[in-house]
Amino acid sequence: MELILGILAIILFIILASLIMVATNVLFDFFSASVIVLAALLLVFGLIFGLIVALKNTVKVYRDVYKAK
């Protein structure tokens, strides 16, 4: 009985370990596909946001300097 249970435990361990490896590989491929796109989007949005803030500040400084007169 113990021997059968031991063999079953080993088989279960191998199947579970293989499933974990498959899941890791799928996640790796998924991250390879998505993270670089997310990074590019983050960069583009960061640049656009920074540009908008810079333009806003420029307009504000222009107003403060020239409209105050």
Binding site: A17, I20, N25, F31, V35, I36
Partner: protein, 249 residues
């Protein structure tokens, strides 16, 4: 403008089509067959354990997914480097990124690697070793290097050495010092690869002409390294030092 959007849409369509295997059942059965063999099981187990150990910080579960995402990012930057080196600088005589084991071995991935090691792995020298090792070794372990590659010894040695280089990179005070360590490591292994492993100049005696030809092959890498190095030195030595002085006064 219309051409630009059409090209962009075509690029996005191609990109999505490149990953359509996620909805293909044969992809999952292929993975199962790969890991359900003796060699595949052994290599996959090493990969999972190394990714687990490469997570910095106390929470190992989130560290696993974090380091897996960063390793995947580093291994997907080969395409970006290819685009830069092809369009920006010179046409190379040989394309070493076409090899699946070379995906993370480029300066762009190197910059991200040094940034991650410098900012997240201070005090975690063992985790830094595992992170460096698995960054290069993940493709070897997942694609079963013993079956697919002739230069398995070199690739394993290179991955191990990157682990040691990452251990060294956790020590310096400034980012650019860590980056210099990576540059030295990268150039040494690129020269070994060009002269010995790929044997491009193996049968010839080393002359000035051959050295210049090799340098021409390395022009994109050297330019990228130089730009990042100069920017980081100026930022860390000029901008940050001035900020600290202003805060102190």
């Amino acid at each position: 403008m219309v051409d630009f959007f059409e090209t962009a849409m075509a690029y996005i369509r191609n990109y999505i089509y490149g990953y359509h295997f996620f909805i293909d059942e044969s992809y999952y059965s292929g993975l199962w067959n790969r890991y359900f063999t003796a060699a595949g099981f052994f290599l996959g187990a090493i990969a999972v354990v190394l990714i687990y150990l490469s997570g910095a910080g106390k929470n190992k579960k989130s560290g696993f997914f974090r380091s897996l995402a960063i390793i995947a990012l580093l291994n997907s930057l080969g395409a970006v480097y290819d685009v830069i080196s092809r369009n920006l600088i010179v046409q190379q005589n040989y394309n070493y990124n076409s090899n699946v084991f070379e995906l993370a071995a480029n300066p762009i991935a190197g910059i991200i690697l040094v940034l991650v090691i410098y900012s997240c792995y201070r005090g975690y020298i063992g985790n830094a070793f595992c992170f460096g090792l698995i960054t290069y070794a993940v493709s070897l372990l997942m694609f079963n290097v013993f079956v697919n590659s002739d230069s398995a010894g070199f690739l394993i040695f290179r991955a191990l050495t990157l682990g040691f280089a990452c251990m060294l990179m956790t020590k310096p005070k400034y980012f650019y010092n860590s980056f210099i360590i990576y540059i030295v490591y990268y150039l040494i292994f690129k020269w070994i690869q060009i002269f010995i492993v790929q044997g491009i100049f193996a049968s010839q005696t080393i002359t000035v002409e051959i050295v210049l030809t090799t340098l021409r092959l390395l022009v994109p890498d050297l330019l990228i390294f130089m730009v990042i190095l100069v920017v980081s030195i100026i930022y860390e030595r000029a901008v940050l030092t001035v900020k600290k002085t202003v805060v102190a006064t």
